[in-house]
C-alpha cells in the first residue's frame, strides 16, 4: 500500500518506462497492442506521450551526437602549487611579452591572436608536472591543464582537433556555451584533460571573444574545416602537440 505517495497518473496508466521502451522499439507486439488500446481511452496518457516526444526532439536537436571523443576530466587540485610557482616566474614572463604588455591586448575582429599568448598549459605525467610548450611531445594518458590570460573579461572556450580529425570541446565542460572569465593573468582552469589513445598531431585552439558563443557549432566547424578562423570579435590562440606512443 502506497496510497500516501501520489503518482503522476493512475495505477492503470502507462509509465514513463513503458513509453521509453516503446520509443526504443523494445516492446513486443502484444505490449504495443495493450499500450495502444490504453492510449485510445486515456487522455492523460496521450498527453504524456506527446510531451515525451516533444522532449526527445528538443534534446536531440540540442545535443545530436554522442561526445565519445570528449576526454575524461579530472577535477583535481594537482598543479595548484606548480602553477602558482610557475605563474610567478617563467609563465608570466614568457606569455606577456607582447608589444606594450597586457594593455596592448586588443582583439582585431576575425584575426588570429597576435602579441601576448593567452593560452598555455601544464602537463602531468605520473607524478611529474611540467610546463608545456607548443610543439611538444605528449603521450596518451598525460593530463593537460590549461592556463589562460586575458587583459579584460572574455568569453572563453578551448577546442581540440586530434590526429584522426575529430574535434572536441576541452573547455568548458558540460556546458553548451563559452564561459565568461574575468580579466586575469595566468589563470589555471579548473579541470584537467586526460589525453586519449589517438596518436599524431593534436591542435588546440583557445577562443577568446567579447560575447558568449555556442560550442557545438564551433566544434562542427572545426571538424569540417580542420582549422579555426576567429569569428568576428574574437581571437584564437593555437597550440600544437604531438602525441606519440608511451615510451
Amino acid at each position: 500500500m502506497t496510497a500516501e505517495i501520489a503518482r503522476p497518473r493512475s495505477e492503470r496508466c502507462l509509465s514513463d518506462l513503458t513509453f521509453d521502451e516503446w520509443f526504443a522499439g523494445e516492446l513486443d507486439p502484444e505490449r504495443v497492442r495493450v499500450a495502444e488500446a490504453h492510449l485510445g481511452e486515456c487522455g492523460p496518457c496521450r498527453d504524456r506521450r506527446a510531451e515525451l516526444e516533444r522532449e526527445r526532439a528538443r534534446f536531440l536537436e540540442r545535443s545530436p551526437a554522442l561526445p565519445v571523443r570528449r576526454p575524461r576530466r579530472h577535477r583535481t587540485a594537482w598543479l595548484g602549487a606548480a602553477v602558482a610557482a610557475a605563474a610567478g616566474m617563467s609563465l608570466l614572463v614568457s606569455t606577456w611579452r607582447g608589444p606594450g604588455g597586457p594593455g596592448a591586448d586588443q582583439d582585431t575582429p576575425g584575426t588570429r591572436a597576435k602579441g601576448p599568448r593567452r593560452l598555455s598549459f601544464f602537463v602531468k605525467r605520473g607524478e611529474k608536472v611540467t610546463e608545456g610548450s607548443s610543439g611538444q611531445q605528449v603521450e596518451p594518458g598525460d593530463q593537460l591543464r590549461f592556463v589562460v590570460s586575458a587583459a579584460r573579461p572574455s568569453h572563453v572556450a578551448i577546442l581540440s582537433l586530434d590526429g584522426a580529425g575529430k574535434a572536441s570541446i576541452y573547455y568548458p565542460s558540460g556546458l553548451e556555451a563559452s564561459r565568461r572569465l574575468e580579466a586575469q593573468v595566468a589563470h589555471p582552469l579548473e579541470d584537467a584533460i586526460e589525453l586519449d589513445a589517438v596518436l599524431g598531431p593534436e591542435r588546440i585552439f583557445g577562443v577568446f571573444c567579447g560575447g558568449a558563443f555556442e560550442l557545438e557549432p564551433l566544434r562542427r566547424k572545426l571538424e569540417a574545416e580542420r582549422t579555426l578562423v576567429a569569428p568576428a570579435g574574437c581571437a584564437v590562440d593555437e597550440l600544437e602537440l604531438h602525441k606519440v606512443k608511451a615510451q
Binding site: I5, R7, R9, D20, E26, P67, R70, R72, L175
Partner: protein, 160 residues
Amino acid sequence: MPRAESLESWYKLHAPAVFRRARRMLGSDVEAQEIVQDVFLSLHERPQQFSGKSSVTTFLYAVTTHACFTRLRNQKNRRRLMDERSEAETQTEAGGPSPELTLLARRALSELPEDVASALVYYALDGMSHEEIARVLDCSRRHVGDLLLRAAQFARKAEA
C-alpha cells in the same frame, strides 16, 4: 557489447530519457548533461556493464538513477543542488510528476538508502508499477512493496 556504431544508435534512442530523468532528479540542465556524458562515456569505455539480461532502457534507468544518487550524496553538490531554485521545481511537464513530488524524490535521494530512494523515484516520478520497479531493481515485487512502504513513511514525515 555495444560497439561504436551501436553506441551511437543507443545514444539517439536512449539519451533523451537519460537526460529527462537526470534533469528531474537533479533539477539542473547542466548537471543532467554531465550525467548523459558520464553514462555514455562509461558505457563506451566498459561496454561489459550491460549484460544483456534486461532491456537497454531498464539498464539505463538503473544506471541513471544510481548516477544521480551518487551525485546528490556528494555533500558539495547536494548543498548546491538543493539550494538552487531549479527549473525542474517550478516547471510542470504535461502528465509528469508535480513539483512537490519532484522535490520529495530529490530529498529522498539525498537522505534515504539507495534502494528506498530509487523505488520512490520509479514510483512517484516515472509512474512505474510494482512489477516494473521489481524489474529495474532486479528484486521481488514483495520487496518493492516493502521499499515503497518505507518511502511512504519518509513522505509522511516530510509532510509533517
